[in-house]
């Protein structure tokens, strides 16, 4: 991207310690906890979200340990709490905020040539709200846990459960506002603060994804907020609108819950898709194939995602006619995702591909997300879903997308932008090794679960028939490998802060406004606001140079 900043001459950069950047401008704790800088807030989120990831992962470890034996190791009541806590923490405190609050916060202003988001103080507030929500939920965990599943279905959650439903629901309710404020900030920033010359169709596709994700944050999150609010009230007052004693309909709860929670899964994957577009182009050194298609498919996913929630309710007693409509629409929502996969693959074709760690994660994403997405079609089809619902097939399906897709995209993005964020390089050999360990561990964990589900093993059960043990043990073994794979980057990322080689402004030779700044960037991002005259991903020597 052309810019009015004089680029640093390679090989003659000042070492990052001697130049003032957003990290070293002030070392006091107060300057971090009261910062307005979107980059520092991104790091605050990174630390909190990583912590929550390992807490949620801890519950997964306990679950997989329990499932080594068909008779289980813990009591069923305890197992109910394990999968509930795993789900609540991973969904609301890791997956939903992960890319938007870390990479999004850091990159959105930089990619559009702005000095910060539109509302920096609201950005800081959103982090504090996240922390307060996490505190409530951690209180629920340590004071006995929740056993309703992350789905909080009534009337069990409203009337019969004796677990810490209210603190958990309050925690999720509060953290929802963190998402809402982040989405609000992104939408206003992207609309109003793009650099001169940066038209919508010159934006990086990561920005399009962040925009689409933010639309879902804004429209969907308030509905789960009111739903959990009503649930909490009902538990407190022992009467409420979901109470069957006065005519309450438990399925209404599910409608309101899934109206958010289905679009929420697109909140969890759209940012990863945005990262994918950045990684694939950078490591094929090629323009994205079909920029407009990819951009519009992000919006299409955001809109259509609100029309399909009933596919979670096919077997609840929902009207068959409503089920038919939701089934058809669920097939429709697969199309824009498929378009993206085709476009990324076409971008790779005749590209100048290199296999650094970020690219390994990106390639893994394409394969695993495709598998997860295709298995979603079995679930969108009403007739097959009747058999597969409530089994491990569903568990495998969403883990392929969320872990094989979203988490790998998150890791790929972290690796890609790590030099920009920290000014340091991580050891690429270890990074590639970890990526492979994660890929192998992931498939060993979750592929057996497709088979288990097809064979009929129910989900959310502490025990299972003995004939399923081999596959379960394979899955648990895979989980241990996967765990190791996640710990390796934790170690070398922390190591790199102090001992990693100094990174230049653009170690990957990638296109994008963020790569025109020093690594790490100064607090105000750009000395002068750039003026943009080129399309995105303007890599030289491509057959796409005539059109974007």
């Amino acid at each position: 991207m052309s810019t009015t900043v004089i680029a640093e001459i390679p090989g003659h950069e000042l070492p990052s310690e001697s130049r003032v950047n957003y990290l070293n401008v002030d070392h006091s704790v107060k300057s971090w906890l009261l910062t307005h800088d979107h980059k520092r807030i991104a790091l605050l989120y990174l630390i909190s979200i990583t912590l929550m990831f390992f807490v949620g992962g801890f519950f997964a470890v306990l679950m997989r340990l329990n499932l080594i034996e068909p008779t289980g190791l813990v009591a069923p009541e305890t197992y109910n709490k394990l999968f509930s806590m795993h789900g609540i923490i991973m969904v609301f405190f890791f997956l939903v905020p992960s890319i938007p609050a870390t990479l999004g916060n850091f990159l959105v202003p930089m990619m559009i040539g702005a000095r910060d988001l539109a509302f920096p103080r609201i950005n800081l507030l959103s982090w504090y709200i996240y922390i307060i929500g996490a505190a409530f939920t951690m209180y629920a965990v340590i004071s006995g846990g929740v056993d309703t599943g992350w789905t909080f279905y009534t009337p069990y959650s409203s009337t019969f459960s004796h677990s810490q439903v209210i603190p958990a629901a309050v925690g999720v309710f509060i953290t929802g506002f963190s998402s809402i404020l982040t989405g609000l900030n992104f939408v206003v920033t992207i609309h109003k603060m793009r650099a001169p010359g940066l038209t919508w169709f010159r934006l990086p596709l990561f920005i399009w994804s962040m925009y689409a994700t933010s639309v879902i944050f804004i429209l969907g999150t308030p509905v789960i907020a009111i739903t959990l609010f009503l649930l909490g009230l009902e538990r407190l007052l022992h009467i409420g609108i979901f109470d069957p004693a006065i005519g309450g309909d438990p399925i209404l709860f599910q409608h309101m819950f899934w109206f958010y929670s289905h679009p929420a899964v697109y909140i969890m994957i759209l940012p990863g898709m945005g990262v994918m577009s950045e990684l694939i182009t950078a490591f094929s050194r090629k323009r994205i194939f079909g920029y407009t298609f990819v951009a519009f498919s992000s919006l299409a996913i955001a809109v259509i995602s609100f029309l399909v929630w009933g596919h979670h309710m096919f077997v609840t007693g929902q009207s068959v006619y409503a089920g038919l409509i939701f089934s058809v629409l669920s097939f429709l929502v697969a199309i824009p995702s498929a378009i993206k996969v085709f476009n990324w693959t076409a971008t790779l074709y005749k590209g100048s591909i290199s296999y650094e760690a970020p690219m390994l994660y990106a390639l893994g994403f394409i394969g695993l997300f495709t598998m997860g997405g295709l298995t979603g079609l079995f679930l969108a089809s009403l007739a097959t879903d009747v058999h597969l619902n409530g089994t491990y097939f569903i568990v495998a399906h969403f883990h392929y997308i969320m872990v094989g897709g979203a988490v790998m995209a998150y890791l790929g993005g972290l690796h890609f932008w790590w030099p920009k964020i920290t000014g340091r390089l991580y050891p690429d050999g270890w990074a590639r090794f970890a990526a492979l360990v994660i890929f192998v561990g992931f498939n060993l964990t979750f592929f057996p679960q497709f088979v288990l589900g097809y064979l009929g093993m129910p989900r959310r059960y502490a025990v299972y028939p003995a004939e399923f043990q081999v596959l379960n043990v394979m899955s648990s073994a895979g989980a241990s490998i996967l765990g190791v794979g996640y710990v390796i980057p934790l170690i070398y990322f922390i190591w790199s802060f102090k001992y990693g080689p100094i990174a230049g402004p653009n170690p990957w030779g990638a296109k994008g406004l963020e790569w025109t700044t020093p690594s790490p960037p100064p607090t105000e991002n750009f000395e002068e606001i750039p003026i943009v005259t080129e399309q995105a991903y303007n890599y030289a020597g491509t057959s796409e140079s005539a059109h974007g």
């Binding site: 804004i218 969907g220 308030p222 750009f526």
Partner: protein, 231 residues
């Protein structure tokens, strides 16, 4: 942080991430509208649930609706609309640089909002409590309601949740208005800078609009006919 890109002096309310005051104003108003969309979805979830149950239990909902105090409801509607007028006029006063008028209109808005809340809590809700119409607080199903009585508590759950959530928003608005009153008194708002007034105005009008829908949906469509065929 000094903004190196700006080469001319900006007013003291200028925030450095923006290019100029116009972009700042624009972003601020747009941001408030995006927030109001989240409020539409928040209240909307409740309204949606109300619509569902009303279509399932129409007779019960009509019984419940007729038991509401429509005089207070109508009076409160008028009070809230008047408070929207005074809120809009406080912004008008900032446009014409009349500090005292800003303060007067903001104070009037608060006063009207306070009267709304007072009438609701001290008269309506207190009477409902004594008539045993608050679910969870001694609700009594009356025999004259017949078979439909089973679902009348559902109506009252919605009545108290919806008007309660609305009242909570009014109380929050009241607090924000108090802060604005102090700022206006100190002369912070004038024709070049009144963004907080504008944003708060949008919020207050939204709360008014919620009530504009709550009033008929709760109080007026229960068949409280005086003229026309029997019910």
């Amino acid at each position: 942080m000094a903004d190196m890109a700006v080469h001319h002096a900006q007013p003291k309310e200028f925030q450095h991430q923006f290019e100029d005051m116009e972009q700042q104003r624009d972003a601020g108003t747009f941001g408030m509208w995006v927030f109001l969309v989240t409020e539409i979805m928040f209240f909307g979830g409740l309204f949606g649930a109300y619509i569902v149950y009303r279509s399932l239990y129409l007779p019960s909902f009509e019984i419940g609706s007729r038991l509401l105090k429509v005089n207070f409801g109508a009076t409160n509607t008028v009070i809230l609309i008047a408070s929207s007028l005074t809120m809009a006029l406080s912004i008008y006063a900032a446009h014409i640089n009349r500090k005292n008028l800003q303060v007067v209109f903001l104070a009037l808005t608060m006063l009207l909002g306070g009267i709304f809340l007072f009438l609701k809590f001290a008269f309506e809700w207190t009477a409902d409590y004594h008539e045993h119409l608050i679910p969870g607080f001694g609700f009594i199903v009356r025999p004259e309601w017949g078979a439909a009585g089973y679902h009348v508590p559902m109506f009252f759950c919605f009545y108290f949740f919806m008007t309660g959530l609305h009242a909570l928003h009014m109380i929050i608005g009241f607090g924000i208005l108090a802060v604005l009153l102090v700022m206006a008194w100190r002369g912070r708002f004038h024709s070049e800078y009144y963004a907080p007034l504008e944003s708060t105005g949008l919020y207050w009008h939204f709360v008014d609009i919620v009530w504009i829908f709550l009033f008929p949906l709760l109080y007026l469509i229960g068949g409280r006919y005086v003229i026309g065929g029997g019910h």
